[in-house]
Symmetry: C2
Subunit: 541 residues, 2 copies
């Protein structure tokens, strides 16, 4: 397969958003936001870039693992955030990693980290590069002689499958589709589908506490991790395969969410599912978003554990083509390999109606081949969901500010946070354009818990061309401040990276941050692992 | 309430095992183990003990919080393990804490830890004292001038209930029954019932990753913790109330299972349940334990999430009065506040039969008052379960060695571990008695996961009177070695403490232990918090 990912934006080089979808989006930018001049910023060309020459050279033994091609260095410069895309469209690749390594196995990773520790080279672990928080950007401060991006993409095998325990040992560099493909022969699946699924890796999901398609129960990758192998400069950490444990604080949990700052995850034993055969799904309309949220609460507290339980506000539903813009839409879905779900869906729909919902359609199906059952709002939504980043890039190229902000909040404070974030986003977006501009702020609930929910906000407005980063900073600051002030978290499933660290430092108690810095010092004494992520570069306990 | 707990053994001073049950147990010791001379040891009397005088005195400001009575010091000397009971029956209280503190609030805890840090006094956090691994024994090494047991028992209030989010803010010192009583008016419940329920505290459960009555899904207290307040010598840690989070490694998880070595948990926001109204339960018989285990596996992998899914081997079932000793018994139970469970139980029984089970009885009931529905094997089992520790003490007083060992293991290795542990226990118990003795080894599965199970072994044989501790050491060593060699954990839900640390050190990768020691140094620079628990006293990263 010679398909290559874009070095500057989302997805495959030879793939872009559907032109009809782009047309519709252009019409929306004109109609809703009054953006009439949709000048398209070109994608940057590789031959445009004059990358700073590498400041370091690898020792001869490591040379075979290292690339210094412009494509590789440019590809490992940025993640996929709005800030990243803006800089890429400006052909601003001022701070590329000096070197990019492609280890083929764990020994290579050990050798690379040994060199980094000894030579004071900052090591940036890299999975799929889909970070939206500066997690893989080689912005590491002044105390390193250079930067090395360590791309795990060659470590992409399912090494072992334990069918009885429904678990598999998997290399961290595998991308979503290749992972599922390797599990298919045994009828197993990880069923973890973040929006980045096609372009992100198992190791990246674990390092960033990725959120998947399960709206309840298995919301994050965390619960699916059975055991980890992590290379640290202080040695290999291999935790035991245990279905449950009570021996001290969980070692896995220290590394889940450690964003490459504590070690490089090379393998994981993952808990799997049998591919579902039974599916039951429905949607319900709500005149009021708050009533829809109440339905989500009832469902999340019911013990029914729906796989899907997502609420789209009226505008979000319209933008995704699942309703006309008058109603919030709740998507409910159950899935099982084991049993029919009629009873589950029946009760869920009672709860959906109790909260004032009008049930639109429901289907209960068994598919004997394990393939998906398609059709209805839920599938329209899923299709739009996975293709959204391509469209985002097109909108941004046309001068739109497009950014998303997610958090989590207990139910008692959900409405206050929802209102505050919408207000903060709208006023900041207006202010950033000198007032008066139209702004589109939408919300969906992506994950639900008995004690709260994860709302996900999208903000679209005209970009201030030439000052996009300043505009982003203003809007991001106002929104995140509102989230933190109203009790939320800086991120429910997009990680902290470098870009959100200033809020993370406000979120976490100081003694905990010192404990984390101390743990880092123990496993990474030279402080070379992803400096500036989670902890300030050079942070000492 | 003037009822006092025994200073030397399980439970209330004025309560002992049912005499009829004791008679039956005596008959069993005679019949099964050939123990004819059942001479009853002790209990020790308080006036027998000549406790070493306190080696330290508190500063005047702390005096009102401190007790030096013989009862308080003796009560805080030991947990409730076999080793503890043996030493108590010998009236061996050679190493009591010098002082016992009863803080009334968090400021008291802060003041106590400040003093300990400054004066090099070892601080032993104490909840209900039900540790079975030396977790609260003031065995702290030589580098302290004395020991202070910090008993949280006065901090026992539910401070705040958030009914919408089904969560409550609760002081760590509350015992199980008082906690449930305070939640009852709102119709809420934590539904966490370890065997120690009556005599253990919320803070203790969190600090030790306690296992509760849910056999699947919410097996440990871990999943029920929404947020924590922890006093450390380096400052207060208060984590955010979040239903889900993706910001860095979970701060709660660092303290869940930290066994008082990283801080003193003073409060927690806990996720609650609405009291169940619907229940469905059944039992099934298996000629073969392995078939019963297969049924547990199918159930745990089904997605049905039974609240009860416990398998007792034939002897364990007989000892607990739930079957005649010919069959392993599987207890299945579902509960819900929201929906009838007919469909759930129906499918579960199909799976139980698929594995070769003979379904004995089933009941599906709704109780409108939220009270338990009683009757059947499951209830006989539960009653025996909660009263078991009283009976254990009687057996030990009569010269029986009685100990339990639990672990967790993936399904692929379940049978090998089960066989190895039984063999190790039997041969070690025989050897400890010079060979030839009868030994009773039983097993139950207490908690089940999609990827494995937690087997719980009970070993009963004649004690070697006068050499009980050496005997314990031999049997414990052989059993735990077998568990570790076959892939298990040193503990599924009984914590590590001081007694199991030597195996914990083998279980956890060295760099992880250094990271943990470093985290401890950051929050407890003087190393005064529960020295010797999890980490060696004075361990440095």
């Amino acid at each position: 397969m010679n398909r290559r990912r874009k070095f500057w934006g989302w997805g495959w080089e030879d793939e872009r958003a559907d032109p009809l979808q782009v047309q519709a989006a252009e019409a929306a930018l004109r109609g809703w936001l009054g953006m009439h001049e949709l000048e398209v910023a070109g994608p940057p060309r590789l031959d445009q870039l004059s990358l700073r020459p590498p400041r370091i050279a690898p020792p001869p033994a490591l040379e075979p693992l290292i690339s210094v091609t412009a494509f590789d260095r440019a590809s490992h410069c940025y993640g996929k955030s709005y800030r990243d895309l803006i800089r890429a469209l400006r052909a601003d690749f001022a701070n590329p990693p000096d070197l990019v390594a492609f280890p083929a196995n764990e020994s290579d990773v050990v050798a690379l980290l040994d060199w980094c520790s000894g030579a004071r080279v900052a090591a940036i672990p890299y999975g799929g590069g889909s970070s939206v928080c500066g997690g893989i950007e080689p912005e590491v401060g002044e105390s390193f002689i250079g930067t090395l991006s360590i791309d795990l993409g060659k470590m992409q095998k399912v090494l072992e499958v334990d069918e009885r325990s429904r678990a598999a040992r998997i290399q961290a560099g595998v991308f979503g589709p290749a992972l599922e493909e390797q599990l298919r022969p045994q009828g197993l699946t990880l069923r973890h589908y973040p929006q980045s699924f096609e372009f992100s890796t198992l190791g990246g999901w674990i390092a960033t506490r990725s959120g998947g398609h399960f709206a309840t129960q298995f919301t994050h990758i965390d619960e699916l991790v059975e055991a980890l192998r992590v290379v640290t400069p202080a040695g290999l950490i291999e935790t035991r395969r245990l279905p449950g444990d009570g021996a001290g604080p969980s070692p896995e949990r220290l590394f889940i969410g450690s964003e490459g700052a504590l070690g490089i995850i090379t393998e994981a034993w993952m808990r799997l599912f049998v591919r579902p055969r039974f599916r039951a799904k429905a949607s319900a309309l709500y005149a009021d978003f708050a009533n829809g949220a109440e339905a989500v609460r009832l469902l999340a507290q019911s013990g029914l554990n729906p796989a899907n339980c997502r609420l789209l506000d009226a505008r979000e539903a319209m933008m995704n083509g699942v309703a006309g813009g008058e109603h919030a839409v709740l998507l409910i879905g159950f899935e099982s390999h084991d049993h029919a779900l009629d009873g589950w869906l029946k009760r869920a729909l009672e709860l959906a109606r109790d909260a004032g919902g009008e049930v639109q359609q429901s289907s209960i199906r068994t598919s004997d081949d394990g393939a998906g059952v398609r059709g209805g709002s839920a599938d329209a939504w899923r299709g739009a969901f996975l293709r959204a980043p391509y469209l985002r890039d097109e909108l941004v190229a046309r001068g739109a500010f497009v950014e998303t902000f997610e958090t989590a909040i207990t139910w008692d404070r959900f409405r206050a946070l929802d209102s505050a974030v919408r207000a903060a986003a709208e006023s900041a977006a207006r202010e950033s354009n000198g007032g008066g501009t139209s702004v589109l702020v939408t919300c969906r609930i992506t994950h639900a818990y008995s004690d709260g929910a994860a709302p996900y906000f999208t903000v679209i407005c005209p970009a201030r061309r030439g000052a996009e980063l300043e505009q982003w900073d203003l809007i991001k600051t106002r929104v995140t401040d509102a989230m933190l002030e109203h009790g939320g978290t800086v991120t429910h499933h997009h990680a902290v990276g470098r870009d959100f660290r200033r809020w993370y430092e406000r979120q976490e108690p100081a003694p905990y941050q010192r404990a984390l810095a101390a743990a880092k010092s123990a496993v990474d004494p030279a402080g070379v692992l992803n400096p500036g992520v989670l902890l300030a570069a050079g942070a000492r306990p």
